[in-house]
Symmetry: C2
Subunit: 210 residues, 2 copies
């Protein structure tokens, strides 16, 4: 096999506008509401910028609120289907900390803050990342119904499975704001302005008849 | 927030030894057994090289058998907990094809060949990647029992959920060889030679008393 034909590296990079958006954000965000407000700002801008879907996530040090990394969904910008907001934020945090285990020896308690319950891929990414807390704006059918994205199958006991691995879950932090952003995103999709990049469109297919 | 403190890019790169290993591999691998044999070679070498766990995956064009990309678990080499073999192979294939959807218009049928049923994160990554076929050496408790890795919770209907999204599953391709590699890896772990990087060690914790 000709070695030159085989791709050897992949990656993703935050777009310039995320750094602009972060410029006026304090180094530390004291409460989960402060943290989620930043997530919502990034999620609401991401699809307007054409970088990906209406999703964002940040990793913070739970106690101090120091922002370690910020991610948005970069599927469209990076060309990588795995570059969901959670994977971006977790990977950037691990790059910064020089550790594949954000919960390893000497690490502070790291918290992932995200604007909905993660899809099945990102659920797994949370499990293996070393974060000890997951904070979500909400869960439920609104995301799939309003945006057309498929979240994949997750068991009823998804939160218990996280807890069993030492990851606590906090829900319903500024939930209404999350739903509002998904609704506006759905309107943009209907008007033909944005790409629902989810490859197989399974949610649409499964619910077309209902 | 000081923009210079925020990390802005992440990524992973195949180690040199993978390219060496691929040098004598034909451009096309005609059968699933040929494909799995390559996967087993890469998986068996990966942990000896210290790049990650005993896992590998390749993306091929199903009909011609043309190898599009090859991945190994790069958690240790990249410092990214998400850099499992499947994510590496899929991301490299998408980089090469310039497409976040390997099943999009104009694409051939892409197949992911991997040496066990994917963990919950990589299961989701398969769902969103656009591959139309998943070929696995095996599934079952051997992986967790022999290696100590946690695979996370997947529903009983995991294969049906893939099929519902247009992804067919083929199982039991050179299964015994996969189990043999996991066994050898487990022996190396017992002898203290390698790192089980799975962050929370949940499998060990959950089964310690059994």
């Amino acid at each position: 096999m000709e070695a030159t034909r085989i791709p050897t590296r992949y990656g993703a990079e935050l777009p310039e506008w995320v750094l602009e958006e972060l410029a006026d954000v304090p180094e530390c965000l004291p409460t989960v509401e402060h943290r989620m407000r930043l997530v919502h700002r990034l999620a609401g801008r991401n699809y307007h910028e054409g970088t990906g879907g209406p999703f964002a996530a940040i990793v913070v040090e739970e106690e101090s609120g120091a922002v370690v990394s910020a991610g948005v969904n970069l599927v469209l910008a990076s060309g990588l289907s795995a570059a969901h907001a959670e994977v971006v934020a977790l990977s950037l945090a691990q790059t910064r900390c020089g550790a594949w285990d954000l919960g390893g020896p000497g690490q502070p308690v790291h918290e992932l803050v995200v604007n909905w319950r993660p899809c099945v891929q990102c659920y797994g990414a949370v499990l293996w990342s070393g974060v000890r807390r997951l904070v979500i704006a909400g869960e439920g059918e609104e995301l799939e119904r309003l945006t057309g994205f498929d979240e994949g199958p997750l068991g009823e006991d998804w939160a218990e499975q996280l807890e069993a691995r030492g990851i606590t879950v906090q829900r319903n932090v500024l939930r209404d704001d999350a739903v509002r952003i998904f609704g506006r995103y759905g309107d943009s999709v209907s008007q033909g302005g944005v790409t629902v990049y989810n490859a197989r469109g399974a949610y649409t297919a499964r619910h077309a008849a209902t």
